[in-house]
Amino acid sequence: MPLEVEVVSRVRRLYHTDRADMVIIPGSEGEMGVLPNHTPLLTTLAFGELRIVEGKDVVSFVVYGGVVEVRPHKVTVLADDAESVYELDMGEIEAARKRARDLMAESPSEAQRAEIAQDLRRAEIAARVYSRVQGRGQRVRSLEDEES
């Protein structure tokens, strides 16, 4: 029996399927593969790549923190923020990274520093996921494909 997977962020629902074979979750304690009939589990998310394997396809997202609830036949990803790999724009990521580095160089206050560090981490994770997905050279299905 395949897995039902739902990915929602605070601002929208990104993805839903009921025929996933495996979900690879970037848990805060390390990456974790979830197959159907997994024992119930609740874990926090790190920043990283979330992959949903459906047959030969892989649907890939970048998630930035949050919580995952795993039930035997359903995985619910509640991300603080998330985007589809297809939405990643290398130019924007580079710009965000540069912006964060520049801000960091201006010796910001403690509170700002944490925020900038967060932005920087975000951009770096996004860049890493992007290049990893490119390197795999696999067919990554976009949400638009899904809809059509």
Partner: protein, 319 residues
């Protein structure tokens, strides 16, 4: 029959009103679209979060896994977080939710700490408390109510940062004596013409059991916990996860309730203003007709006067 000048003045004032209601309708119509998009976009997350919360809460029988899950054996006092608008002119929007909240506390028969969001709610509750103060027959649990905190002027598109203070007050109320349960009264957004005032249990998190049918009718049951699992594996640990998700998810429930209410408020105002515009238009039509009649009448009588005068002169000449 009022004079033509009188009618003209009324037509002018009706036209002015019509302009104001039209402007308000247009403003609400544009806010309602934004608010609706926001509420619909964040709803799936809020619903799933609630689902997870209730599931986690259902597991904790016996020793609560988190202070916010603690079910106290006796309910001495409750807090009600009441969400209304800052402004009126929204039809029965504010009155409906306040009436429902009051009906709920009167049925619940416990002293209440009110936490109001929105100026209208605060004012209406103040008036209600003042009325109770004068009423010597009111039972003691009703007389023992007060507003413990009030918030107003939230931004049009609030986020977690904007409601952090509200959430802190809610948590503090629950964690300190003597509040044992917290409810949230808000207006659920269904569509532009339908909004539903409702009271939901907020803390402690657990499947809600009402003590009587009347209360049952006033409080929305929580979404049914279809999946009852007694043991989750928590990674990294139960305490770490629950400490993070329980306060955060609860904040999200509050935020979602506020978003639902905002959407409802804009919709209610838009509809109220559209009705007002339509009434103003039809009243304008009626008045215009009346004005025309009055004008015609005065012209006719003037002509009659002249004709009569001319006739009288001629007769005088003939004589």
């Amino acid at each position: 029959m009022p004079s033509t000048r009188e009618i003209r003045r009324r037509i002018r004032s009706v036209k002015n009103i019509n302009q104001v209601t039209r402007a308000l309708e247009a403003v609400s119509a544009s806010s309602v679209r934004k608010a609706q998009a926001a509420v619909l976009a964040s709803r799936p997350y809020a619903q799933h979060a609630y689902d997870v919360l209730v599931n986690v809460a259902a597991q904790s029988t016996g020793v609560p896994l988190h202070p916010l899950l603690e079910v106290r054996p006796e309910v001495r006092c409750i807090a009600v977080l009441l969400i209304t608008g800052d402004r009126g002119l929204a039809g029965a929007y504010n009155a409906n939710i306040v009436r429902r909240a009051i009906r709920f506390v009167e049925q619940y028969e416990r002293p209440v700490h009110w936490i109001t969001v929105g100026r209208k709610g605060r004012d209406l509750i103040r008036r209600y408390l003042a009325r109770l103060e004068r009423d010597e027959t009111a039972p003691s649990y009703l007389r023992d109510q007060r507003i413990v905190a009030e918030f107003s002027h939230l931004p049009a598109d609030p986020d977690l940062g904007d409601i952090a203070q509200i959430a802190r007050v809610v948590f503090d109320e629950f964690l300190t004596e003597p509040v044992d349960e917290v409810f949230i009264a808000y207006t659920n957004f269904i569509n532009t013409v339908t909004q539903q005032p409702r009271v939901l249990p907020l803390l402690p998190l657990r499947p809600f059991e009402a003590r009587s049918r009347e209360i049952m009718e006033l409080v929305e049951p929580e979404p049914e916990v279809r999946y009852r699992n007694r043991d989750y594996i928590y990674e990294p640990s139960a305490a770490a996860i629950l400490n993070e998700i329980i306060p955060r998810f609860t904040e999200l429930q509050i935020l979602q309730a506020i978003r639902e209410s905002l959407s409802s408020e804009h919709s209610a105002r838009m509809i109220a203003m559209r009705n007002a515009s339509e009434s103003a238009e039809s009243l304008g039509g009626v008045l215009q007709l009346e004005y025309n009649k009055a004008r015609q009448l005065s012209i006719t009588s003037e002509i009659l006067d002249i004709v009569g005068g001319v006739e009288a002169l001629r007769q005088a000449e003939e004589d």
